[in-house]
């Protein structure tokens, strides 16, 4: 099956190239069709070489994934995630909840990319700082204060930090003073990440900290107190249908992410500034002609992107223990998500986040050796990244030609 996938991917591209057709998606279609149907499906594709449309993109992919799932079920029938239905349900729920948070964080990165054309390597550090500020405000400086204040403080700090950094270090990129702006952007944000991480380590120290829970669930027993099969909550946990258990911090974070996402969508689609941001991301020059100052939008985008990462961090500081190095893995995951979703695509980032969340849940739940599965968590995302880059470099919803300073990838 894998063999047919590889053969399909390589040969289909050749054939499309030979017939002088659009090859952009041929690798993807060829490999998926090859993996799902083998030579039976590939032969007509090679002979007819139809134009690649949506159906041809979606169905082979669905088929291939289903086939992999069935193959796995037959190969290892005693596995927990084949035999245990409730385990699967809770893994999927957890995957989706984490995926929402991941996707939210990646949203900030993709916002920055779509407008500045820079992949910010300091995204994980903004996430870390968001968590740190929230922890200090809610647990150290003003214990007992509303957690919302802490989150606001985190947003404020990172917004200011992002804006200042953009003004100081990224402005020469726009004026064509630098030969290779994309590489400059990568390196300078890399330097920022390095500086911020060690600055926090020098001031806060390297001991893990953890904020307390923001708020407790109310005690719920539905439909009745004796037989709470529908929903049962305690202060830190929620159980649905007697099978799926969701911890409080994650649930709160996911709900807050969805709320902020909705307000962000409102901001981007209904306000003048948001529309200006999207206009700049579509076409820089045209936006400038229409009276939008692209430089100001750059600053706003970078600050907003950093703030979104910080918000994710502020919401998750109650769920995980927090270290100066905590940003590395989420940052990496955000890279995976934005490539999977398509660099610069906002809905793509969100869908990509949920997919990556599910893949990680499947990876941790289904790999037989639990200890190894946990060690490999960062690698699952990277495997997704590799496959995406090989099969469909534009990502799920990527624009072929993104505007602005970046043109081609």
């Amino acid at each position: 099956m894998i063999l047919w996938g590889v053969v399909g991917g390589l040969v289909t591209r050749r054939i499309y190239l030979h017939k002088d057709l659009d090859t952009s998606n041929s690798v993807f279609v060829g490999s998926m069709l090859g993996a799902a149907t083998g030579p039976v499906g590939l032969a007509p594709l090679w002979i007819k070489t139809p134009e690649v449309n949506k159906h041809l993109m979606v169905w082979p992919a669905v088929g291939a994934v289903t086939l992999i799932a069935f193959a796995f079920a037959f190969a290892d029938p005693s596995n927990n995630c084949v035999s245990n239905g409730s385990f699967v349900a809770s893994q999927i729920t957890n995957g989706i909840i984490l995926g929402i948070i991941y996707g939210f964080m990646a949203l900030g990165l993709t916002l920055i990319f779509s407008i500045l054309g820079v992949v910010s390597f300091a995204h994980g550090e903004f996430y870390m700082i968001g968590g740190m500020v929230t922890y200090f405000v809610t647990s150290v400086w003003f214990p007992g204060i509303y957690p919302v204040v802490g989150i606001f403080a985190a947003c404020l700090v990172t917004f200011a930090l992002g804006a200042a950094f953009e003004r100081m270090f990224l402005t020469p990129m726009y004026e064509g003073k630098i030969e290779r702006p994309v590489e400059y952007g990568i390196l300078v944000t890399f330097g920022l990440a390095f500086t911020l991480q060690y600055f926090i380590q020098a001031t806060v120290g390297a001991n893990p900290v953890k904020a307390r829970r923001f708020f407790d669930f109310p005690r719920l027993r539905l439909p009745s107190a004796e037989d709470p099969w529908l929903i049962k909550t305690s202060r830190g946990n929620m159980e649905l249908f007697d099978t799926v258990s969701i911890s409080n911090p994650r649930f709160v974070a996911a709900v807050a992410c969805v709320l902020v996402l909705l307000s962000l969508l409102y901001f981007l689609h209904r306000t003048w500034t948001g529309k200006a941001l999207r206009a700049v991301s579509l076409d820089r020059e045209a936006a400038a002609i229409a009276g939008i100052n692209p430089d100001r939008m750059n600053m706003l985008a970078f600050a907003l992107g950093g703030m979104i990462a910080a918000l994710a961090g502020a919401l998750l500081v109650q769920a995980f223990s927090w270290l100066p190095q905590v940003g590395a893995i989420p940052a990496m995951r955000s890279f995976v998500i934005i490539v999977l979703g398509g660099l610069g695509s906002l809905p793509g980032a969100f869908i990509g986040g949920i997919i990556v969340g599910l893949v990680e849940a499947a990876g941790t739940g289904c790999v037989p050796d639990a200890q190894k599965a946990a060690s490999y968590i960062p690698a699952y995302g990277m495997i997704v990244l590799t496959l995406t880059l090989l099969l469909r470099p534009t990502g799920l919803l990527g624009r072929r030609f993104s505007g602005g300073a970046h043109g081609k990838f």
Binding site: F113, V118, V119, F121, M168, F169, P172, I178, R180, V182, E183, Y184, I186, L187, V188, F190, G191, L192, A193, F194, T195, L196, Y198, F199, Q201, A202, A328, M332, F335, V336, V339, L343, K372, S375, Y376, I377, P378, A379, G381, M382, I383, L385, T386, L389, L390, P393, K408, F409
Partner: protein, 404 residues
């Protein structure tokens, strides 16, 4: 002697200085300084090969540390699991070659080291000291590590062919992370975070310049690393000055235009990956034998950021500048490693030095994109060009004045 020759002269003086230094210097901190220099050379190899990859060829790869890891782990596993024995152990997987047996030790992981012995230890216990097994030669391990680095470089080079800029950086970062995750997870073979131990670079000691050197002496590894650095620099310079360097720079500037002008872009892109990753792997393998333990943490992002920062601060478009930058930064970083007090506040420099370092990196990028050392070299090498142009212009202006 014109100003143009100053950099060459300075280079010669520098090489001579490093060659003589270990014989002249004899202060108390001799081992420490030697260790710093060896580490400095190690980073210099990485920084200069990375500057070939990133500065000349424009491939901003963040997987360079991954290649050092491949080199180091190849030689570590090779020396750890393969032995030559004159007699059959009858316990291990073994192959008879001539009168000797090539023994493959079974991996036992970390926890069981005191409880269960691997098959070779069992066999040795049975023989009771009557049979001596020989470990594999270290140089073979290092060469294998280098070749392995080249193989992976080839693979990665082919995989990243269609990728540019941000995608390339993300992909190589991903490669290095997968590698790290795999090494930490496969505890049974690589011993995970516990790290794997390696034999000394010269296990029997060595006689050099008529002097006996113990296996723990710093001088032989110093010269091995120094020699490797010089070899790498020589290869890189030769490449940069040959057609290869031109092609690769054309790739950096505009890949499509280069292809249109007849540069085999695939070939040169892959080649630059293979060459630089072989250098990284060789450096990693030698360094691993010098430090004698390798853990997955050696592949961490921090290490990669150090290499990137060294190359950038030195000057990413000049392999010598990158190498010198690496040595200087390694020294400054180490010498800043003491804390001091300002009034009641104790400033722990072990961490603050990295903050300062990060700020220097950003400021260098912002205000002097070619680094700090590379403009100096260029000032001497190319300074006359500007002057000559000005002189010509002045002369030309005058001649046109007189003619008119």
């Amino acid at each position: 002697m014109s100003r143009q020759h100053a950099p060459q002269l300075a280079g010669l003086v520098l090489v001579a200085f490093f060659a003589i230094f270990p014989f002249v210097y004899s202060a108390n901190d001799y081992p420490y300084i030697m260790h710093l220099l060896i580490t400095g050379f190690f980073y210099a190899i990485l920084a200069s090969s990375w500057s070939m990859l990133a500065g000349y060829a424009g491939q901003f790869s963040f997987g360079h540390m991954g290649f050092t890891g491949i080199g180091a782990y190849t030689t570590a596993l090779f020396c750890h699991y393969i032995y030559i024995s004159p007699e059959a152990t009858n316990l291990c997987t073994e192959y008879a070659i001539g009168g000797q047996f090539l023994v493959f030790v079974n991996p036992i992981g970390v926890t069981s080291s005191t409880l269960t012995q691997d098959c070779l230890r069992e066999a040795l216990a049975l023989w009771d000291g009557k049979v001596q097994v020989t470990p594999m030669p270290v140089w073979l391990g290092i060469s294998l590590g280098t070749i392995m680095g080249g193989v992976f470089g080839l693979l990665i080079g082919f995989l990243v062919l269609p990728l540019r800029a941000a995608y390339l950086a993300l992909f190589t970062l991903g490669f290095s992370e997968i590698l790290r995750a795999a090494i930490s997870a496969e505890i049974a073979i690589t011993r995970g975070q516990a790290g794997i131990e390696l034999p000394y670079l010269f296990d029997q000691g060595i006689t050099l310049f008529g002097r006996e050197f113990d296996k723990t002496d710093k001088l032989p590894p110093y010269f091995v690393m120094f020699g490797l650095l010089l070899t790498c620099l020589a290869i890189l310079t030769w490449l940069a000055r040959s057609k290869f360097g031109l092609f690769v720079r054309a790739l950096r500037e505009d890949q499509d235009a280069a292809a249109a002008l007849g540069v085999n872009t695939t070939r040169y892109k892959v080649m630059v990956f293979v060459i630089t990753s072989m250098m990284a792997a060789a450096a990693g393998a030698v360094m691993a034998h010098y430090i004698r333990i390798i853990t997955p943490n050696n592949l961490m992002i921090l290490q990669m950021s150090l290499v990137v920062a060294m190359a950038v601060i030195g000057g990413v478009e000049n392999v010598f500048a990158a190498a010198i930058g690496a040595i200087i930064i390694e020294f400054t970083l180490e010498l800043l490693r003491n804390s001091f007090e300002i009034g009641p506040v104790v400033v722990d420099m072990t961490i603050w030095r990295l903050v300062i370092f990060g700020i220097i990196l950003m400021v260098t990028l912002r205000f002097s994109r070619n680094g700090i050392i590379s403009p100096l070299i260029n000032y001497f090498l190319r300074g006359h060009v500007a002057k000559e142009t000005v002189a010509k212009r002045v002369a030309g202006g005058k001649s046109s004045e007189t003619s008119s």
